[in-house]
Amino acid sequence: MTDEKTKTPETIDIWVAGTEEPQFSPTDEGAQEIGLDESESRLDEQFGRVVSDDYVFDEDATDDERMIVNMGPQHPSTHGVLRLQIELEGEIIRRTKPIIGYLHTGMEKTAEVLTFGQGTTNVTRMDYLSPLHEELAYSLAVERLLDVEVPERASAIRVLMTELNRVASHLVALATNGMDVGALSMMVYGFRERESILSFFEKTTGLRMNHNYIRPGGVAADLPPGWKDDVAGLLENLPVKFEQYDDLLKENPVWTSRTRGVGIITAEEATAYGITGPALRASGVDWDIRKAMPYSGIDKYEFDVPLGENGDVYDRYRVRVLEMYESLKIVEQVMDSMPKGDYRIDDRKVTPPPRARIDESMEALIHHFKLFTEGFKVPAGETYVAVESPRGELGCYLVSDGNARPYRMHMRGPSFANLQGLPIAMADSLMADTIATIASMDPVMGDVDR
């Protein structure tokens, strides 16, 4: 018995394809036995009565011991079709390479065959969680090339709708982040509250998503009758729910231990890699386009920019929650100070005639027909307009050669740039934290691949 124990086990050659096949000894009866060491402690381990951790991390691991694991593209927690090539050393991630393009549908090419008026139907489908921000960035770019100014009411409606959209988008981020870390109830709650915002969107724009509501020259329609009651209802209901989320997550030991100190991005890394939005602010960089380079008169309203300190998953979650409160603050101010007036510019070049005029005037009918078939011409030039989307800087680079279709339209998607931060956030962290880190960056693949 003692002889068996001291004997070193035979090394087993692993046959590598293309090399000479080693001499494998045929399995004998003895190898089928449960174990030759039948001492009490060994048997306890074998029967599972005692669990011991026998994993020893090898500091001198060579490249042979590194393993490359493919995650995705079909994985529920990659928020779409994101594929990650992860180089592992045991449980520890050394390098990550995001591989994207699975959702690429050539929307920038499509934009070149659509008129400026049709363009919003295209861009709204890019970032499907914040469609109104996409429409806003595009519309602002077209308006800048046209050199027109939209009425105050149109701007106020735009701010109202985009800030509500920010809340809806952050709710999805929270919901999916919760789901990925194991708080499944958070996912149900997040989507439930988002639905209440989406039903207001449906009432206003006709669609839950992909609204095509914000258009060059203003918005598609005025706010519906009774909109104040709906918004007031949201303002009353949502903060109560947010407090419930805080009860559920803020100090939850499982949540905090899975998110605190995980997936850290420092402020220097974030700026170097062009990361924007809540992911940048969680690292402590005070940068919000709404404050620094305001658009649509958003500087008229009072709000704060919540900042994180550590740049970890928890801070990104926290920044999002606090941003939702700030957005509701803006919504409340817009609601109370909604200016009267037209919801689109009174410029016949861009705006179609009112519906009632079409029935009585032949010219109005022709005008309407021309605008929706030929579109309007935009003077030659190029511009870049950026708005603060829920994910960061959403920019539209628009080039016109004087025709009715954009010569080139490029959207700078915040998720696209933020994905570059994923390898940094995940380097030298545990495999198990991957999902939490991806969720905290909140990438929308429609925005990444376009």
Binding site: I100, G101, Y273, Y384, R408, A417
Partner: protein, 160 residues
């Protein structure tokens, strides 16, 4: 002198060939291709700490140099934006890479390579990013067709 910022004036004055333009109230600097990387370095030292975006425009048969390469810079500390534009020809669409200066230009340059075939010299991993690896051509070039999917019932027989 422009009405943008003394910082931008000073930056542009350092390069003989650089031309500062006002494009709808935004600062645009047009550069010679050889100055592209040097200007970017100077811009970073001047406080433009973020390269927001790199993209391209195809001016096929409209301009002598076919492609425009566009980079949008952002200075968070000075709250300024600056757009760098240079042109590259059809025969050799090559320009220096900004990745050594701003690592965040990585994905954007790969996209410009994928979509336009612009080669960024010095980029660590210039491969296709959105299109499949074996794709032929560069889709956002103007001579690349939009394409159409055959529809089964489009030319259906008329029913009496």
């Amino acid at each position: 002198m422009s009405d943008f910022s003394p910082l931008i004036d000073e930056l542009v004055a350092g390069f003989e060939s650089a031309v500062l333009e006002d494009s709808h109230g935004q600062a645009v600097v047009r550069l010679q291709r050889d100055d592209w990387v040097d200007f970017a370095k100077a811009a970073k030292d001047a406080g433009f700490e973020v390269c927001v975006d790199v993209t391209a425009v195809d001016w096929m048969r409209q301009r002598p140099e076919r492609f425009e390469v566009v980079a949008n810079l952002l200075s968070m500390q000075h709250k300024l934006r600056l757009r760098m534009i240079t042109t590259v020809g059809r025969q050799e669409p090559t320009v220096g890479s900004l990745v050594p200066i701003w690592p965040g230009a990585d994905f954007a340059e790969r996209e410009a390579y994928d979509m336009f075939g612009i080669v960024f010299e010095g980029h660590p991993d210039l491969t296709r990013i959105l299109m499949p690896d074996d794709w032929e051509g560069h889709p956002l070039r103007k001579d690349f067709g939009v394409g159409a999917v055959p529809v089964q019932f489009k030319a259906s027989h008329q029913v009496d």
